[in-house]
Amino acid sequence: MSQRLPITVSINGKRYQHEVEPRLLLADYIRQQAGLTGTHVGCEHGVCGACTILFDGKPVRSCIMFAVQADGHELMTVEGLTEDEKKLHPLQQAFWEAHGLQCGFCTPGILMTLLPYLQENPKPTEEQVRSAISGNLCRCTGYQHIVDAALLAAEKMKTA
């Protein structure tokens, strides 16, 4: 019964090869097999957004996909934003400066949602930012500082 399938996945430009059970969720694969624990698992049914990653460049929920479905695809997780912890990505730097997080649980999902959004929409309004992150739940901040951070990030990413 327990079928195992070989997969090859690129995460943040690095190749990973594993054998996985088909029922292994992509989020769990990223955390447990690939060892990249920046991606968080919250609700496990696609509502909270904590597990958001980029799948072939587009933000998706990695908790409602199977790892086998990522075979041959390019993923990016929050670890891909910077290689050097002392030199943050402008998006991360903006969250640091504007206090865009408290506990930090939702932050990776919010960053991975905002990265492609701000690349495509370099000058968003506050309302557009609120709509862009509407699929990511935060239980600490009340969102105000996240919105401030996103607007600051837009500025920083333009000049970066």
Partner: protein, 294 residues
């Protein structure tokens, strides 16, 4: 929670997928975008023993216009959302798609998957019903076309046979002198809507209402049309009073909402009445605009 074990197939052609459906029938659950199925599997509400993943089948991802608009069942929702042909020729679909959950879900969810799932709270079945779309179903022996009114068969149920797959949805292109509007109300953007409506209004040469169509979301066991309300508009002068009368007929005579945690049945009726008036007014404006456009 985590999904129960299952056997996984990822056929690369439609032919191979249909062979698997022929072999496994209902046991072999088709996996489209998975944005409803996988959450249900995580909760173990769904425990299919075999999954047939349709994602590698690129021949089911397309949008083209060939008389009508033809959309491959595995076309991703966000792709259709930003497609110029859809915006121009099926404006009602274009207006409805951004209401489906969030962008992250629409990047994975498919047009055909949502329709075959037949959730009464989802937008696409309502759009199919409002436009008289047709579904192309296929099994190893061939294909058949199913009208929308025959396709939805109650809560999460469709006319698809165990060996069939939904492969294409055909939407008629926007008609002249016609306005379309879709509206819904959710507690928060991206949540399941408490109620919603699709309105289609066609004007005659005098500017009176020739025909109308009203279909509601999440107030029954499938997309819920209101034919009496629509008929009340036939031949009528479009006016706030006429729209109010249609809203009253639809919500008091034709609708049996169940009510749920977020909205009682009475509140759903109230929402539908308000949405009906707004959607008809908007559809009317758009129909008028289409008449003055060259």
């Amino acid at each position: 929670m985590k999904p129960a074990p299952f056997e996984y197939f990822a056929p690369e052609t439609l032919e191979a997928a249909l062979e698997l459906k022929a072999q496994h029938g209902d046991e072999g659950k088709a996996l489209a975008g998975g944005q409803s199925l996988i959450p249900a599997m995580n909760f173990r509400v769904a425990q299919p023993s075999i999954l047939i993943d349709l994602n590698p089948i690129s021949e089911l991802r397309y949008i083209h216009k060939n008389g009508a608009m033809r959309i491959g069942a595995m076309t991703v929702q966000s792709y259709a959302e930003h497609d110029g042909l859809v915006a121009k020729h099926v404006p009602l679909l274009h207006e409805a798609i951004p209401n489906i959950a969030h962008a992250q879900i629409r990047n994975r969810g498919t047009i055909g998957g949502s329709i075959a799932h037949a959730d009464p709270a989802s937008e696409l079945p309502v759009i199919c019903m409002a436009l008289d779309a047709r579904m192309r179903a296929q099994n190893v022996n061939g294909e058949r076309w199913i009208e929308t009114k025959d396709f939805f068969a109650g809560l999460f149920a469709t006319a698809l046979q165990p060996d069939e797959l939904l492969v294409e949805i055909e939407f008629p292109v926007a008609k002249a002198n016609t306005g379309y509007a879709f509206m819904e109300i959710a507690r928060r953007h991206g949540d399941y809507a408490m109620a919603g409506v699709a309105a289609v209004l066609t004007l005659d040469a005098k500017g009176d209402c020739e025909t109308a169509r009203l279909v509601y979301l999440n107030v029954g066991d499938g997309p819920a049309p209101a034919p009496q309300a629509a008929a009340s508009l036939q031949g009528a002068k479009p006016s706030a009073a006429a729209f109010k009368q249609a809203a009253r007929l639809a919500t008091e005579k034709e609708m049996e909402p169940f009510g749920n945690l977020h909205a009682s049945a009475a509140y759903q009726r109230r929402l539908c009445a308000v949405l009906t008036e707004r959607a008809l007014a908007k559809a009317f404006d758009r129909a008028r605009f289409s008449q003055i456009q060259p």
